[in-house]
């Protein structure tokens, strides 16, 4: 997964619900279609929330991984 090249990295470590998805949304709004966002969070709820967020917004979750206590998401701006 870490071979994916992110165009932008967003660190939401230490933030709790709903901030990780709000900051992800704001970051995605400033990106171009096709670009990849690497989002890092420590909120365990973000694993479920990011999946729900991409489902509702039509963005694409390329993959996710865990690095110690951090959750890392790769999201491609699909629209």
């Amino acid at each position: 997964m870490s071979d994916l090249k992110a165009d932008l990295t967003l660190d939401n470590s230490g933030l709790s619900c709903p901030m990780p998805i709000i900051k992800t949304k704001k970051a995605m709004d400033g990106m171009k279609v096709g670009e990849i966002l690497k989002m890092v969070a420590t909120d365990p709820g973000s694993v479920s929330d990011i999946q729900a967020w991409v489902k509702k917004t039509g963005q694409e979750l390329l993959g996710q991984e865990t690095e110690g206590e951090k959750f890392v998401f790769y999201i491609r701006k699909a629209k």
Binding site: L15, W53, K56
Partner: protein, 158 residues
């Protein structure tokens, strides 16, 4: 987004307490982040949340609140000082979990375009003037809320 998916979140806030003020702001900001529109209608005691300088001073009562982690009998919880104590404790749990302050969530909600509607009838009943309320909100009645909620909305009450 599938066509049948709700496009709006319409929330009624009727309790001006610390615990009941959080969910409307968390859910409405999350809704906008999910490409939905959101509105909160503040009515009855919920209007307290929109009063200038009040949002970070809301309290939580330990009376008749058996889910509070601080286990105290109602007869003690009703004593003077117990509500401020419960409030201090809850605020410290929230800070420890790095949950934003209500004023920060309010600012985020306003930045994101969540419609905040103060209830005109409540203002009349409680003698609240428009200048007593924070800037950038709407004043309206039941129809204002229902018109928004009638179009493909999820509706919730807190």
């Amino acid at each position: 987004m599938p066509e049948e998916s709700a496009k709006r979140l319409a929330i009624i806030s009727t309790h001006g307490t610390l615990d009941m003020a959080y969910p409307p702001f968390i859910l409405s900001t999350a809704a906008v982040a999910m490409d939905m529109e959101a509105a909160i209608f503040f009515t009855f005691f919920g209007l307290e949340i929109l009063k200038k300088g009040r949002i970070d001073k809301l309290k939580v009562s330990p009376v008749a609140n058996p889910a509070m982690p601080m286990k105290i009998p109602n007869i003690i919880a009703m004593l003077p000082g117990m509500t401020p104590l419960a409030t201090i404790m809850m605020n410290s749990w929230m800070r420890k979990a790095k949950v934003p302050k209500l004023s920060e969530l309010l600012e985020t909600a306003q930045d994101m375009g969540v419609r905040l509607i103060g209830c005109q009838m409540t203002m009349d009943v409680m003698g609240v003037k428009k200048e007593d309320l924070i800037d950038g909100i709407e004043i309206g009645g039941a129809a204002t809320f229902l018109e928004f909620a009638s179009q493909n909305a999820i509706t919730l009450s807190f």
